[in-house]
Amino acid sequence: MKIPQDRLNRYVGMKRDFAEEEYINLQPIQRGGILTEEARRAILEFGDGYSTCDWCPPKAARLDMITEPPIQSFYQDLAEFLGMDVARVVTRCREAKFIAFRMLGRPGDYVVLDSTAHYSSYIAAELAELKVKEVPNSGPPEYRVDLEAYAGKIEEVKKETGKLPAAVLLTHVDYLYGNLNDAKVVSKIAKEYSIPYILNCAYSAGIMPVSGKELGADIITSSGHKSWAASAPTGILAFNKSLEEKFTARSKIEGDLTKRKFGTKELAMLGCTVMGAPLITLMASFPEVVKRVERWGEEVEKVRYLVAELEKIEGITMRGMKPKMHTLTHMETESLYKVSETHKRKGYFLYDELRSRKIVGIQPGLTKHFKFNTYGLTWDQIRYVRDAFFDMAKKYGLKVS
């Protein structure tokens, strides 16, 4: 079918509304994925389709066997950086979780997970035909996950099914409140029951120091486009030696007619995974990522400062655990909601006000509460955001203490 030219023109000269060089972007899922200079250069070299595969070795045709560009050594360095034995780059964090669930469980098995887990953890379990048992959280205002309750939930599964769960999963930092969970507590419980422990580090690894060995994780999943200064889609699946055989098992299928076999391909990865621009940006940003996690303390200092400043505005309070240990933040903003009730733009006034001050990333239409992320902003930018909120508060007659 031919597509008319006027429709095709929609795809010509596409531009992003919110260029990072013009706006301060507070979008909670975007801050950790902003490309480094080296990654942006690498796209020029390796943006074309299969360009990373120029030197794919014919006798071992697999992504992790490519040495030019240095994909093979990157996988090793990535595992070491995460304090794990083996690493694979997959399409997204959710695929990493799906692969882990699929390889660890059988249909009908349970996975025990925290009740602040991302929806993709649930869906990954569903696709792997697993059931979920949720560990409760304290609810407002902290939404603290009851980590000790993992043991009780494991016992519940055991009582219900007569066997242990296939895995336990903890979201290291949750996407709603930015609460940092103590991964060691769950590790201890998982070890007592000898259940594989998946630590979902989508919002932690790549921006803050994470060592699987130190935290006692058997599997780490993460997101390149969320936290490793990489283009989407990139996910990370890292695991310990004890799981290598299971996770990297080779394909055994054979064509009934042709007798073709694909014995070099890793089954769970469906052969080769992510190549081209997403992989190359992940690799190119890696040296900076290794350095930037060491600056995590300052990132936490900046968000704590901004939260304390914003809480000076009447009717604005932070949700989640205090003191803040992560840059993803959830604010409850009752006073802004009250303003929206009489404003001609209703809930969109906040978005408009911020956008007019060159700040974007707060979800349009929200005023009762919203999320933001300050990761990677400079002190000047942090103060600029504070001033913008103070200015807005003044405009609408809200007290600033």
Partner: protein, 59 residues
């Protein structure tokens, strides 16, 4: 051929400028070091473009 390497060199210099703009958005109040980086990148790009122009005209 200077033309093929020149194109990438120029874009890379402009990426350097853009990185500074990203760090200083939205006001772009640059400190001395940032100004120096931007000017160095523009100078280098200009020099490369000159060479490229010369090469095309000479061919």
């Amino acid at each position: 051929m200077a033309l093929t390497t020149g194109v990438k060199e120029t874009i890379n210099e402009m990426i350097k400028v853009q990185q500074v703009l990203r760090k200083t958005s939205p006001l772009h109040k640059m400190n001395a070091d940032e100004k120096r980086q931007v000017l160095a990148a523009i100078d280098k790009a200009e020099e490369t473009l000159k060479k490229m122009r010369g090469e095309v005209k000479g061919t």
